[in-house]
Symmetry: C2
Subunit: 206 residues, 2 copies
């Protein structure tokens, strides 16, 4: 439960919930938007429907023992955090260096289990613990990004409303290396960001 609170702190949401806001002028070109097909699906009250099969999305990185508190006690290395991105969004990011509209990230937590034979040490991913999702969608959220907590694995919600802006959005907006995303922590996305930023610097130096 305490771990979950940390995740809620990690994520950010919107104060305005379920408002269908017209696309703002700050929104990226429609050409960079993903097909709606398996993008974010919303219920009539604006809740995000839990995405299916996020495990087959592109995995961008794992971390362990994330904590916003000093000296927090945790089991072994702390929980594993697995982060996945919709494959279509990954392809667009790779090609353009921009996260398109309808980008979705899934954050799945797994409790650590200690390695047994044939290893003498180490930890692997044990039970699935909880799920959270981030969505970029200016059609639905004025700030672009919204964050959703689907709760614990033993009682996963089918739908979730965005969490409040102060919980996650503010931190992602301030600390995410690229467009609210913690690209700095994801080895699959870091080289893409660097390549596009280098290309962009080279262009402006011309």
């Amino acid at each position: 439960m305490r771990h979950w609170m940390l995740v809620v702190i990690l994520l950010a949401g919107l104060v305005s919930v379920g408002a269908h806001v017209p696309k703002s002028s700050a929104a990226p070109d429609i050409a960079s938007a993903l097909p709606q097909g398996d993008g974010p699906q919303y219920a009539s009250d604006g809740a995000l429907v839990r995405p299916k099969n996020f495990e087959t999305w592109v995995f961008v990185g794992a971390s362990t023992g994330l904590s916003y508190e000093q000296d927090m006690k945790m089991k072994g290395p702390g929980e594993f955090h697995n982060v996945y991105i919709r494959p279509e969004a990954y392809q667009v990011y790779k090609q353009t260096g921009k996260f398109p509209e309808k980008t979705m990230f899934a954050l799945a937590l797994y409790s650590p289990d200690e390695k047994v034979s044939p290893s003498h040490a180490g930890y692997f991913e044990g039970d699935f613990d909880s799920l959270a999702v981030a969505v970029k969608d200016h059609d639905h959220f004025p700030e672009g990004w919204a964050y959703f907590n689907f709760g614990s694995a033993h009682d996963l919600s089918a739908r979730a409303m965005p969490v409040s802006k102060s919980n996650c959005y503010s931190c992602h907006s301030k600390n995410g290396a690229d467009d609210n995303v913690f690209v700095q922590f994801y080895p699959i996305l870091r080289p893409i960001m660097k390549a596009h930023k280098s290309a962009s610097s080279a262009d402006s130096a011309r």
Copy 2:
């Protein structure tokens, strides 16, 4: 370097290298084999060509600090081990509970980096360190599975010969929960194995 030796110990290969052995009678039905398209590609000497874009395969699980030695010194939690499976093989495993011919796993190692702001603790995946690959292919290897070491990230090999059977195959064969694969350590595959084993037990109890 020492870490890499551990990975070599983790993996297993074949004594016979590059021999094109006719499909053995123990091989699964051809109907369960994957299309050759983006399956394992071999050079004329039998070396496996390094698979491209393994980062977009289905991620099955991460572990940290894997060690076969007692009291090994390591940085922080030790290296992250990311394991991926070819998407087509994942789909067949999900449907049938069997790893089809041409199944490939990639094992990518990342050195741990310590989390900085906004977190107070934890580790994320830093630099890409090395790559190893496992292949199931009775057409090429009498035992079915072979294991390949593509070396360190700063000098990754374009091709690799199978490593010796005693280094990896023996351990995988003895300790892998399902068909030489350490399914017990992979949260994405564990439920699939359990579901198919339960179904199979129920069938035999009838």
